[in-house]
């Protein structure tokens, strides 16, 4: 193929080559709320221009019904010209088929309309994955000839190490690893990506980003809502599978990974997987001292009475599914040896907060009097949501003749500095999949490494007959979690 001189330097690496995307489970919420709006936004920005979108689902729709429904999904774009919307919708088509039957899959090549690149997006419940992957493979639809063939798989990637390995094996039977994009939408968030920018784009952090200067790290992913209508899923998952194994570990690895040599997808992902592999295993016995799991009890949120977890519709009265997890982790690396990393995640907590706080050690010799030792520690807080931004907690002199000091915040609010809303995570991630950039997607070894660590804890919990702790809605979690961190002279940041 000859080089196109006009393409050089046009930033076309962020512009998708012509493609067809097949969305399996297109009639679901994800397509309505995220995928179609994200694709339309990419279209408006010119990031995708020559493409087809083919829905694939059981419902007996046809292309007209799909287009009608898709038009409603564009409700967030009221100012866009109707002709522009029509032009986008004209690219939509639909295959009505079960996931098990080969019939629908046989129509796939006929819908490619001369486009050589294809992407399969699995937006279905995980129990449909095997059928879809198997059928695509058996019918030769995973093969690449003139263009690329890629597959995007939504989480959960298994529910333990064995099931994750089985899913990976099923994918690997038909697709090469470079064709597989395991999506964790958390990585598409601007502020999560900003962690790397902050660490490696500024010279001042890296020299002190180690056990010589950092006392400990806290990572919090707190939600205010309960399980709501997701009880069926949540009963099977619990917080550790729903949040810790994926989102929270992403934050952990981005915060603690070594600087990559370049921004290549495999360079960054290799550094991340090293972190997950360096997590010191928590033995079955240690789950009692290094982990806390709890369920929310009945209580009040915003003045309204809310049920306890076991009273939620769809939840067993004897449920031992955790809605809160706190853990003390260690990374066995030179950089982080001896630095505890406290992580916690839960539902029905005081507020919705996702943040990483890096707590620096006290000055070697504190000459200024302070009655509250923790006040001497500087804290760098990376707020992921809400109010994305950074705060550096520092001590300053209180005006007056005394040498009193008090902490103040140097504050940077991402949203306010840059004003407008940041792009939706799915928009970024979809474009990455179209242009073949897998940096923000999970690699097989990363998934399996995290499940290796988590599965050991799950097995420890299964053998642990101790009743789950409980906590009040609107609180910052169970007392046991406070005691775990306070035993070492530290305290959780307020939620």
């Amino acid at each position: 193929m000859k080089l196109n001189p006009l393409a050089a330097g046009l930033a076309t690496s962020r512009q998708a080559a012509p493609f067809v995307v097949f969305i399996f489970g297109v009639t679901g919420d994800l397509t309505r709320n995220k995928l179609i709006p994200a694709l339309f936004s990419l279209y408006l920005k010119g990031s995708i221009s020559r493409f087809r979108i083919i829905g694939f689902a059981r419902r007996p729709w046809n292309k007209e019904v799909f287009r009608e429904n898709a038009e409603k999904m564009l409700g967030d774009f009221p100012d866009v010209d109707v002709l522009v919307k029509r032009n986008f919708l004209d690219r939509l088509d639909y295959i009505s088929s079960t996931f098990e039957s080969e019939e629908g899959y046989r129509q796939i090549n006929g819908h490619c309309d001369g486009f050589a690149n294809r992407l399969y997006y699995l937006s279905t419940p995980p129990d449909a994955y095997d059928d879809i992957i198997g059928n695509l493979g058996r019918l030769g639809l995973a093969e690449e000839s003139e263009g690329y063939t890629r597959i995007v798989v939504e989480k959960p990637f298994g529910r333990d190490l064995a099931t994750a390995r089985a899913l990976n094996a099923s994918l690997a039977a038909h697709f090469r690893e470079e064709q597989i994009f395991r999506i964790d939408h958390y990585l598409g968030k601007e502020t999560v990506q900003n962690i790397m920018l902050l660490r490696f784009g500024n010279g001042i952090f890296e020299p002190i980003w180690n056990n010589r200067y950092i006392d400990h790290i806290q990572i919090t992913v707190a939600e205010k809502i309960g399980v709501g209508t997701r009880a069926n899923y949540y009963e099977q998952a619990g917080t550790i599978r729903d949040m810790v194994q994926n989102h929270l570990f992403q934050l952990l690895s981005l915060t603690t990974m070594e600087p990559p040599n370049d921004l290549g997808p495999d360079t960054i992902r290799s550094e991340k997987v090293k972190i997950v592999r360096s997590l010191r295993p928590i033995t079955h016995r240690q789950v009692q001292t290094q982990t806390v799991r709890a369920q929310y009890a009945r209580g009040y949120v915003d003045g309204e009475e809310v049920p306890g977890y076991r009273e939620e519709e769809g939840v067993s009265e004897q449920s031992r599914t955790e809605t809160y997890v706190a853990m003390k982790l260690f990374l066995d690396t030179w950089r982080w040896a001896g630095v505890p990393i406290y992580v916690r995640s839960g539902k029905r907590l005081a507020r919705r907060v996702t943040e990483i706080s890096v707590h620096f050690k006290e000055p070697p010799l504190q000459v200024f009097y302070s009655s509250y030792p923790a006040m001497n520690r500087n804290i760098l807080i990376m707020r992921i949501q809400p109010d994305e931004g950074l705060s550096l907690n520092m001590n300053v002199k209180v005006p007056g003749h005394q040498a009193d000091m008090r902490p103040v915040n140097m504050d940077f609010a991402y949203g306010s500095a840059f004003g407008e809303a940041v792009p939706e995570a799915y928009e970024r991630l979809l474009l990455d999949a179209f242009v073949g950039d897998s940096t923000l997607y999970n690699r097989r070894d990363e998934i399996e490494a995290s499940w290796t660590f988590i599965t050991r804890i799950l097995q420890g919990w299964e053998r642990d007959p101790t009743p789950l702790a409980s906590y009040l809605p609107g609180s910052s979690g169970p007392e046991e979690a406070k005691m775990m961190i306070q035993a070492e002279g530290r305290r959780w940041r307020k939620i």
């Binding site: 193929m1 080089l3 196109n4 330097g9 046009l10 076309t12 408006l44 010209d81 306010s416 004003g419």
Partner: protein
Amino acid sequence: MKALFSPQEVEQELQMLQRELSPAEARSALFNLVIVSREDLANPSEGALAYLLGKRAARIIQIRNVATGQSTMSVTARCFPDRQNRGVCFQEINIENGTDSAGSAPGTWTPLLLRDIPVYILWYDRLEENREYIRLIRDQADKFIVDSRWNEVIGEPPESVCSVLAEELLSQGQLVSDLAWKRALSLRRITASLFENDDDAIDRLFEIEAVEIESECEHEAHLYGLWLSSRLDWQWLGRKRTLKQTGRSVWHALDRSDRPVEVRFDRCDFGVLEEAERTTSVRFLVREGDPITVAGTPGGCVDTVVPGRNEDRQLLLSPRAGELLLDEVDNMRSDRLYIEALSQYSRGHDAPDSVELGR
């Protein structure tokens, strides 16, 4: 001699205005934006600033060149609350630069620049006539931004704009941007896509004998021609002729086989059409075979025709000036392709065969 104003008093007044408009708290300014314009242009920056308001806090110094009287100065502020109810404000210093030239003198406004944040100069005036002044102020700017669409409005030919930018700013290593160049990014991308993964089409690129552009802006067509010239290794010779009656401009170049190539521009009058409807059409005439075309259609789309391929319809983006300016103030860089295109004006050109400038 009486000073035009006292910087301390200006600062105090700005702080007071900002406190009134944002009693909770205001965000710190992220950059200085110095806007130079002229009285016969009715607020060319206003649309772009309206788009930026609430998105970026900034200090804005407007220097408006007026034909009469003494220079004057006033201060204003505009704030828009962010999600945390903190004000995202423009602190605005408006200078009317009179015949005494006191208002535009660098010593007048440079003390009002906020230190340690970028300074962008947004220029809406003739460049050729202001070469000396540009030399005086260029060191103050971290980036010099023009929108040459406005230079067309005030009758400055594209060649003047490009040569001043190349000779006075690029040559000094200054960052330079032209919003007119950015505005046509979508057209360049669509053009490039016509030749993507198609060896036959790429071969035709080197057989182009003329490029015909129909649009409303000559400056954008000229930049498009410069882009083709730099990418296809043409030797840009400059303007060949301009026909005032038809509004047609013709530039010429030599391709890499020293064969002549023309870039022809025909002005479209879109009248009352919305911005999104004002599409551009391009035809590549090749030495053998059918032309390759990008034809504007209603709805802000273009139909592309490449011989031997299915016709395709693509969205031609027409970003607003505010979106373009936002990208400029967020990024401390120049577009490498623009610099390469503009650099062709550092080499000097033959005089055009015939020129009849004007609209």
